[in-house]
Amino acid sequence: MGEQVARRAPSVVPQEAELLELAEHVVRLARRGGADAADVLLDSGTEFSVTVRRGQVEKLLEASSRGLGLRVFRGGRCALAYTSDLAPAALAAFVERTLDLAAVADPDPCAGLPEPAAWAPPQPTDLAIDDPQLPQVTAEQKIELARRCEEAAFAFDPRVTNSDGATFSSEYGVRVLVNSAGFAGAYRASGCSLVMEAVVDDAAGKKRNAHWYTAARAFQDLEPPEAVGRRAAERALRQLGARKVATQTVPVVWDPLAGRAFLAHLARAMTGDALYRRATFLLDQEGREVASPLVTLIDDATLRGGLRSRPFDGEGATSRRNEVVVQGVFRGFLLDTYSARKTGRQTTANAVRGVGSAPSPGTTNFYLAAGPSRPEEIIASVDRGLYVTDTMGFGWNLTTGDFSQGAAGLWIERGEFAYPVSEINISGNLKAMLRDIDMVGNDLEFRSATAAPTFRIARLVVSGL
């Protein structure tokens, strides 16, 4: 199917003005009902996804949705509620219920909206996060991209015998935030991605699988589908015949995909709620050297075209670029308003929020800055060690820094890939691991919002046979 299906472009999302007016109305209702302060987050958008598997459209989803989240403060007491029923009568009752809910909470001197100073700086313009062309791309075009992507994986090598499908997804929407202290903001954002999962047969009924993907704000910035398909196939094939290795301590080289997962976990130790809950190994480490001088970590919500760039955060604070670690020195935590007040700091505009959730500090575009080394040099530097491509599991203790994860990848002998490995584990402590980063690659690219170039940790325990 596919070719025969007649389609129109996804329905256009509502205009910002209309949503702003609705959000302002709800804030007014909350104030009138007795709230000292309130804010309203409104998300409205469309989503599309199609999976092509073995040449056929397997599933196709298309929907538009909207949701409203209300936060009220009453005598320092905070309540939060969400709804998707935006009819006027329903909204009035919703606001009343939310106000009642606040009576349940205890007063908290740190609860409240950000200081107006947080949204005083001009918002970044020209973020390039809204691709007006994306809603014009037809379903046929998207199906075709997925089809070409999967075909390229199959064509890459006859040993690619199966696929979990190629999936094209896109979303387009408007976000509106209004608070009772004078902030009103809105922006449009788009996103699209193409993901391929290739499967190859190994000995004894085992399969090897690997995925690869491209993601961007703008449709035209996606990589060619064939390149994605081929790369997925290549990554699955290189795992054929994977085995365990003996237990030993070796240097570990992180490929950018494994490296980004590492950074995503690490970032949770660098947020304000881990700080005020004293649940981070970085407690009392601000201003100190916590990593090798090769390590610079940046969180930049203003990155042009960045997958998590936005003009303001989940509380209205103007987006900015935060230096978290500079040449090994820990500059400070990523904060929202609450964690900032709680710890006597200022918000860093890192409030992440959905309509159904409370704001909490989190990363935007978070990355390990590129270093001087070519990735081939890093691999060649290892006499015997692991090149890790995948990690698994929940072995992150952010309070103590203890780290232990399942891993798969390629074994390095005398500076070259020798054979694939799987079903092994890597362990260490993050305090030492950050100091042991002794090579950083020059191959940083923003395939995802959290990104890392290739890097090397001088020593980790590999558990195996």
Binding site: K59, L61, N209, M392, S404, Q405, A408, E423
Partner: protein, 484 residues
């Protein structure tokens, strides 16, 4: 364990949707007709209305009270092997018809089926509740949180911070299919969680404990909040004394209860029929073959009274049941949804589940467990000269295609000369599903179901599940540690 279904009419979701939103049988028939207006072999509607409340206590104060309603309908059209899906949060006729027409676009061929005759399903109720949490006063729930907070801090002076939360949910679902199936269910859920921070000098340790299930507030009569709080406090305090975990391959004793996540990861996911239909599981084509030690019988059972993973009916309208997946080591069959069941030519097993009306159903586990054997748990520990005893976990993950899994262990001890000795920290178990299950050499008689706290993620969809097992000895498994 109680696996006897409690017979009795569950509260009527059908009546709820009809009276609240005017969604009655003629509306359902009209929407199904829209969904199949361009052809297609099959269509179904999944209505959901979910009310959630949550309370968070931190630093002895209620930090936040939250609530919300999620409502909408997901409409699916199947044409051949292709599925079209659309959803809307708006229960107006116009919006729902629009969603049905959107889903219908997948169907480029096929015959429109004849008129639909809706037959409501009679269902057993596996989660009778006495005191619905969604209707309880906030003050009553707060008292539970305060009791937990006090008990945790009273456990040990080193407990300096406690975060306690209570989330309750009531979910009305209504499923109508073009084959005339009509099923409704009302699904309660309760989740209680306590997190403790223990500080001793420069050593800081955190631990979490929790429980719940498809209960009302009567849950706390048998599971006092103090007990869960002390459990979190105990684990946090214990970690100060924990030694580095050994690295390498050792015999491992998996304690009764939570270790059931081993089954969930090591075999459960690989036995979900979609992976086998697509031939991407390492259990593909292995029905009838040995896939585990003869000591292993693995069951997926949606009918355990009030368990977190229990369902009266799956999200495709199939009554849920008890399915034996592996009997004495031999693979019996897979967990099916509608699409897979038709592919394999078998009856759906009641495992078609979804996160919400925004998601397509797929084969998912309910409560997955290993049946008890006859060994005494103390004999199992005694049989190990040098190894590990694992009790509590922070999570597990599996790669379906090759069967490689990991478990992150939050409470474990060394076993030395048949005795449980020092607690160890930072332990990961890593192995391969079929290989590990073939190395199960002893199975205890002490079966335990985990207190409900597990959520399973697959393809970006989260669903609540239950796990359980007796004490088990695995003769060798790779332990990811730091001590060589």
């Amino acid at each position: 364990m109680d696996t006897t279904p409690v017979v009795g009419a569950p509260p009527r979701a059908e009546a709820f949707f009809a009276t609240q939103f005017g969604i009655d049988v003629p509306v359902l028939e009209d929407l199904l007709a829209c969904a199949l207006s361009r052809g297609g072999d099959y269509a179904d509607l999944y209505f959901e209305y979910r009310q959630t409340n949550s309370l968070l206590l931190e630093e002895q104060a209620v930090k936040r009270a939250a609530g919300g309603v999620l409502q909408g309908v997901g409409i699916r059209v199947i044409a051949g092997e292709a599925t079209g899906y659309a959803y809307t949060e708006d229960f107006s006729r116009e919006s729902m018809r629009q969603a049905a027409l959107t889903a219908a676009r997948i169907a480029a061929y096929g015959q429109a089926p004849g008129p639909i005759d809706m037959t409501p399903l009679g269902l057993a109720n596996h989660y009778p509740i006495l005191r619905p949490a969604t209707e309880a006063r906030a003050a009553e729930k707060l008292a539970l949180l305060r009791r937990a907070d006090q008990a945790a801090r009273a456990y040990d002076p080193s407990i300096v911070r406690v975060v306690a939360s209570l989330v309750d949910e009531l979910r009305y679902v209504l499923i109508a299919t073009s084959e005339g199936r009509l099923a409704g269910d009302v699904q309660p859920m309760l989740r209680f969680s306590v997190q403790c921070l223990s500080e001793r000098g420069r050593s800081r340790q955190t631990a979490v404990a929790g429980g719940g299930g498809r209960y009302g507030l009567e849950y706390f009569e048998a599971h006092p909040p103090e007990a869960l709080a002390r459990e979190a406090a105990r684990q946090a305090v214990l970690l100060h004394a924990a030694v580095e975990a050994p690295a390498g391959t050792f015999p491992v004793v998996l304690g009764a209860g939570d270790s059931g996540i081993l089954l969930h990861e090591a075999v459960g996911h690989g036995l979900e029929a979609d992976f086998n239909r697509k031939r991407t599981s390492n259990y593909t084509d292995r029905v009838g073959q040995p896939v585990a030690s003869p000591l292993c019988t693995v069951v997926d059972d949606a009918t355990i009274a009030n368990s977190r993973g229990s369902i009266n009916v799956d999200d495709e309208g199939q009554p849920a049941g008890r399915n034996v997946l592996i009997a004495n080591g031999i693979l019996q069959g897979y967990m099916q949804d509608r699409i897979s069941a038709r592919h394999f030519g078998v009856a759906p097993s009641g495992n078609g589940r979804r996160e919400s009306f925004k998601h397509l159903p797929m084969p998912r586990m309910t409560n997955t467990y290993l049946l008890p054997g006859d060994a005494a748990p103390e004999d199992i520990v005694r049989a190990v000269k040098k190894g590990l005893y694992c009790v509590a976990y922070s999570g597990g993950q599996v790669n379906i295609s090759n069967g490689d899994f990991v478990f992150s262990v939050s409470e474990a001890y060394l076993i030395e000369d048949g005795k449980i000795t020092a607690p160890v920290r930072n332990v990961t178990l890593i192995g391969n599903g079929p290989e590990t299950l073939s190395k199960v050499t002893m199975v205890g008689h002490d079966f335990r179901l985990s207190d409900g706290r597990w959520t399973c993620g697959k393809d970006g969809q989260s669903v609540p599940v239950g796990v359980g097992m007796p004490t088990v000895l695995v003769s060798e498994i790779t332990v990811g540690g730091t001590k060589l």
